[in-house]
C-alpha cells in the first residue's frame, strides 16, 4: 500500500493502539493534520503546545500507556519544551511528533525552523529527525518502544515536511523497530542479591521507601505481598503515592521535605532501608551527610545510573521492580517487628492533634480542610491532578490514595501549569473517572487557556483552585528564610468563577468551611465541568518542613497556637 509520510504517521499511530493525539497545527505539520482528518485518531486541539505535552503526560500517567503530542516546527516545538522536561524528570512515556521544515532547508534559518532535536537532547530519552517517508513508520514504532522500555521517558520525532509529503510503500509489520544491539547486562548480581536477603532477614528496624517504579513495573500486588510477608512499614515518595494503599496500617505516608515527622524520624532511626523504584531525590533525603546513618540500604532500581548517585547503598539490585520482588519474596522470613512498629506509633505522638484536621472551625478556611473534604466526598477514588507547591503538598498529606495512578503530579521538575492540561489528558485516558484538578491560583493562571479545550471537547473535569492570593510555597520560603520579605509573591487573580463562566464552565467561589462539602457535591453532580475557587487562609504554611539541605530529622513543626491547645484538651 502506497501512502504519504503524513498518512503513515497516522496509520502507524493507529496500529500502535493510539486513540488520542493532543496537538496544535501549523505550517510544517499541515500534511500530517490533513491525514489526521482522514484517520480514526481523535485529535484534541489544545490552546498552547505546552498543554499538549502535559495532556499527553497526564494521559500516559493515568493510563499506563503512551501519550502522544503533536506540534508544528519552530515555536510550536519550543513551546513543548517544558512539558517534555516534565515528562523526562518523572519518567513518563510521551511521544512528541513535531513538523520540521523541508530537509533541503534544514540549517538555513527558514521560517519557523528551529533545531528542536538539539534543544531537547538533554530532556528526552531519545530524539530523532526523520527526512524520508520510508523511515517514518519504523521510527515511530521505535519511539514507542523506547518511551516505554526500561525507565520510561519522552521521545521526540521531528519529521521534515518533505518526508510527510513524499509517498512510499507502507507495511506496518515490515517497519519493525531496529534498535541498536546494546549490551545486555545480567539482571542483577547474585552476590548483591544474597547480601540483600541477608540484610532483609537480619534487620530489626527495616523500612521500605516506595517509589514510582512500583507502578511503572506493575509490581503493586507483589509489593503488597512483600511488605506483609516481612511486616515492614512503608514510606512513600510523592510519585509513589498510590502504589501501596494509604489505608494499609503499614503505610506511614509521604517522606521527605514535607513528610510527616514520624515518617522522617522512622527513616532516620531505621537499620535497613529498602528503596524500591525511587531515586533518593534531594527533596526526599535532605542533607545526605546525616541521612539514615544507622541504616544499611538496598536499592531496587531499573536505572543503573541511579545507583550510588546520591546515597551509597549496600546492595544494588538493578532491574525491574516486579521481577526482583518476585525473586526476593520466597527468601523473606516473616517477622512481626512489633517493637519497631510500636516505636513508630509512639513517634506519631501528638502529631495527630497538631494536625489541622483536629482544629475546630474558627471561621477560617484552610486548604487542608478543602483537600480532606474532597477526599471524604470522593471516597478517595478520584484521579487528582496537581501542580507544584503548597496545594500539592497538602494534597499529598490529606488526600489518601489507595489505588495506583490516581495521583498525577509534577514531581521532579515541579512544573506550574501542569495540572489543568494533565487532568484533561487523564480524563481522556479514564473517561469514567472522577477527575479533579487541585491547583494553586498561580499555577492555574499559567495554563488556564486550556479551559477552552475542556469546553470544546465537552469533557467533564472538576477544578479546585486553592486560592490564597500568593505564590504560596515561595511565600512560605520567604517567611521562613527571608524574614517575611514577600517579594513578587502577592498575586492578584481574576474572579475565577466569573472567568469559568466566560469559558462556559460553571464556577463558584467558596470562603467558609461549611460550604466546602456541598459545593464539592454539586460539582460532582454537575454534568458539565465545574470550577471552585476556594479562598483559603492567605498565609498558611505547609508543615512539617525540612529546610532545603537540612537534616531529615530536623523539621520545622506546626506552630503551637491556642487552637492547638483547645483541640488537645478536647481529645
Amino acid at each position: 500500500m502506497k501512502l504519504t509520510g503524513a498518512e503513515i504517521v497516522c496509520e502507524t499511530l493507529t496500529q500502535l493502539g493510539t486513540k488520542h493525539v493532543f496537538g496544535y497545527p501549523g505550517g510544517a505539520i499541515l500534511p500530517i493534520y490533513d491525514a489526521l482528518g482522514k484517520s480514526k485518531l481523535h485529535h484534541i486541539l489544545v490552546r498552547h503546545e505546552q498543554g499538549a505535552t502535559h495532556m499527553a503526560d497526564g494521559y500516559a500517567r493515568a493510563s499506563g500507556g503512551v501519550g502522544v503530542a503533536m506540534a508544528t516546527s519552530g515555536p510550536g516545538a519550543t513551546n513543548m519544551v517544558t512539558g517534555i522536561a516534565t515528562a523526562m524528570l518523572d519518567s513518563s512515556p510521551v511521544v512528541c511528533i513535531t513538523g520540521q521544515v523541508s530537509s533541503k532547508l534544514l540549517g538555513s534559518d527558514a521560517f519557523q525552523e528551529v533545531d528542536i532535536t538539539g534543544i531537547t537532547m538533554p530532556i528526552t530519552k531519545h530524539n530523532v529527525v526523520v527526512t524520508r517517508a520510508e523511515d517514518v513508520a519504523r521510527t515511530i514504532r521505535e519511539a514507542f518502544v523506547i518511551a516505554q522500555s526500561g525507565r520510561p521517558g519522552p521521545v521526540l520525532v521531528d519529521i521534515t515536511k518533505d518526508a510527510q509529503q513524499a509517498s512510499c510503500e507502507y507495511n506496518f509489520d515490515a517497519a519493525a523497530p531496529k534498535l541498536p544491539a546494546k549490551r545486555q547486562r545480567p539482571k542483577y548480581d547474585k552476590v548483591e542479591f544474597d547480601r540483600a536477603v541477608e540484610m532483609l532477614n537480619s534487620a530489626k528496624r527495616p523500612l521500605i521507601l516506595a517509589g514510582h517504579g512500583i507502578m511503572m513495573s506493575g509490581a503493586m500486588k507483589i509489593f503488597d505481598q512483600f511488605v506483609h510477608s516481612g511486616n515492614i512499614p512503608v514510606a512513600m515518595t510523592l510519585l509513589g503515592i498510590g502504589a501501596f494503599p494509604a489505608s494499609d496500617s503499614l503505610n506511614l505516608g509521604m517522606m521527605g521535605m514535607h513528610g510527616e515527622a514520624w515518617v522522617n524520624h522512622a527513616i532516620q532511626e531505621a537499620d535497613l532501608l529498602i528503596a524500591v523504584g525511587m531515586r533518593f531525590d534531594d527533596r526526599v533525603t535532605g542533607d545526605l551527610k546525616t541521612y539514615a546513618r544507622d541504616a544499611r540500604k538496598i536499592h531496587i532500581e531499573i536505572d543503573r545510573s541511579e545507583i550510588n548517585k546520591n546515597v551509597k547503598v549496600d546492595s544494588a539490585l538493578v532491574g525491574d521492580a516486579r521481577e526482583i520482588l518476585e525473586a526476593l519474596l520466597p527468601h523473606v522470613k516473616h517477622k512481626e517487628h512489633a517493637d519497631w512498629l510500636a516505636h513508630i506509633r509512639e513517634l506519631k505522638g501528638d502529631s495527630a492533634v497538631r494536625d489541622i484536621q483536629g482544629l475546630p472551625d474558627n471561621g477560617h478556611l484552610y486548604a487542608a480542610h478543602v483537600i480532606n473534604d474532597l477526599w471524604k466526598e470522593t471516597k478517595g477514588e478520584a484521579i487528582v491532578v496537581t501542580d507544584v507547591g503548597q496545594h500539592q503538598m497538602w494534597e499529598a498529606q490529606y488526600y489518601h490514595h489507595n489505588s495506583p495512578r490516581t495521583l498525577v503530579t509534577s514531581g521532579g521538575l515541579g512544573t506550574m501549569g501542569f495540572a489543568t492540561p494533565a487532568a484533561i489528558g487523564a480524563k481522556f485516558a479514564k473517561p469514567d473517572a472522577d477527575v479533579w484538578v487541585v491547583v494553586g491560583d498561580g499555577g492555574f493562571q499559567m495554563t488556564m487557556c486550556e479551559l477552552a479545550t475542556i469546553v470544546q471537547e465537552k469533557i467533564k473535569v472538576n477544578i479546585a483552585i486553592i486560592n490564597n492570593g500568593y505564590l504560596g510555597m515561595v511565600r512560605q520560603w520567604q517567611e521562613f528564610f527571608y524574614d517575611k520579605r514577600y517579594v513578587a509573591t502577592p498575586m492578584i487573580a481574576p474572579d475565577f468563577a466569573a472567568l469559568a463562566n466566560a469559558f462556559g464552565i460553571r464556577g463558584e467561589r467558596i470562603s467558609s468551611r461549611g460550604d466546602v462539602l456541598p459545593t464539592i457535591r454539586a460539582a460532582r453532580e454537575s454534568k458539565e465541568s465545574f470550577l471552585i475557587d476556594f479562598r483559603v487562609e492567605q498565609e498558611d504554611s505547609v508543615y512539617p518542613m525540612v529546610p532545603a539541605g537540612g537534616s531529615l530529622h530536623e523539621m520545622i513543626r506546626r506552630p503551637d497556637s491556642p487552637l492547638v491547645e483547645t483541640a488537645a484538651q478536647e481529645l
Binding site: G118, K125, I146, P180, A181, R183, N308
Partner: protein, 175 residues
C-alpha cells in the same frame, strides 16, 4: 583522570549526545577520540575525563542509557595500553638540526616533513613520553603542534568488543 571506552552507532549526532551528557554531569573531558571499527556502522570512543571513580560510574551508566551507545565501560582500573599521537612542527636551522636529530632518535620519533627552517615530527606513545619530548623540544622553538587524544585498549584476553557481531544483511555491498 578516568578512562572509558564506548561503542556507539556510527551516525550523525552521536558525538554530540556523548559530549552533551558529560557537560550535563559537569564532567570535563580531557580527551575524546572516535573512529569507526572494522564494522563501519559502529564507532569506538576513548573518553578520558577529569572525574573520580563515582563520576566515571555515572558517566558510564548514563552513556549506556543512550539509545545510540551500545556499550560503555570504565577501564581505568584494568591493565591498559594507552597511546597518544602527536605531530610537532619545530624550528630547525642548519645549526640546531643535528642536535634535534639526536633527540628524535632517543624518543623514537619520526621526521615526516623537512623544510628549510623547520621539521615536522611524528611521535606516538604514552602521554608522559610525548610530554617529555615536548619539553626538550621547547628550547628549539615549537611552532605548531597537534595531538590526537588518547586511545586505549585493555591488555591480552581482556576483550571489549561490540555487543553483537553484525549480520551479513547489515553490510553494504559495493556497487
Amino acid at each position: 583522570m578516568q578512562t572509558l571506552v564506548a561503542y556507539v552507532e556510527n551516525k550523525p549526532g552521536v558525538l554530540n549526545r556523548v559530549s552533551s551528557l558529560a557537560r550535563r554531569l559537569a564532567i570535563n573531558i580531557d580527551s575524546l577520540t572516535v573512529g569507526p571499527t572494522d564494522n563501519q556502522e559502529i564507532a569506538r570512543m576513548t573518553i578520558v575525563a577529569h572525574t573520580d571513580e563515582r563520576g566515571a560510574h555515572r558517566l558510564e551508566a548514563s552513556l549506556e542509557k543512550q539509545v545510540d551507545v551500545l556499550l560503555a565501560e570504565n577501564v581505568s582500573e584494568r591493565p591498559l595500553l594507552e597511546r597518544d599521537l602527536a605531530m610537532i612542527k619545530v624550528t630547525a636551522d642548519q645549526t640546531s638540526r643535528p642536535h634535534l636529530m639526536e633527540l628524535i632518535k632517543v624518543f623514537r620519533a619520526r621526521v615526516i616533513d623537512v623544510a628549510p627552517q623547520s621539521l615536522i615530527l611524528e611521535v606516538s606513545g604514552t602521554v608522559d613520553k610525548i610530554d617529555g619530548l615536548l619539553e626538550v623540544l621547547r628550547p628549539f622553538g615549537v611552532l605548531e603542534m597537534v595531538r590526537s587524544g588518547r586511545i586505549a585498549m585493555t591488555r591480552g584476553g581482556d576483550l571489549l568488543q561490540p555487543p553483537v557481531v553484525p549480520s551479513a544483511s547489515g553490510t553494504k555491498t559495493a556497487a
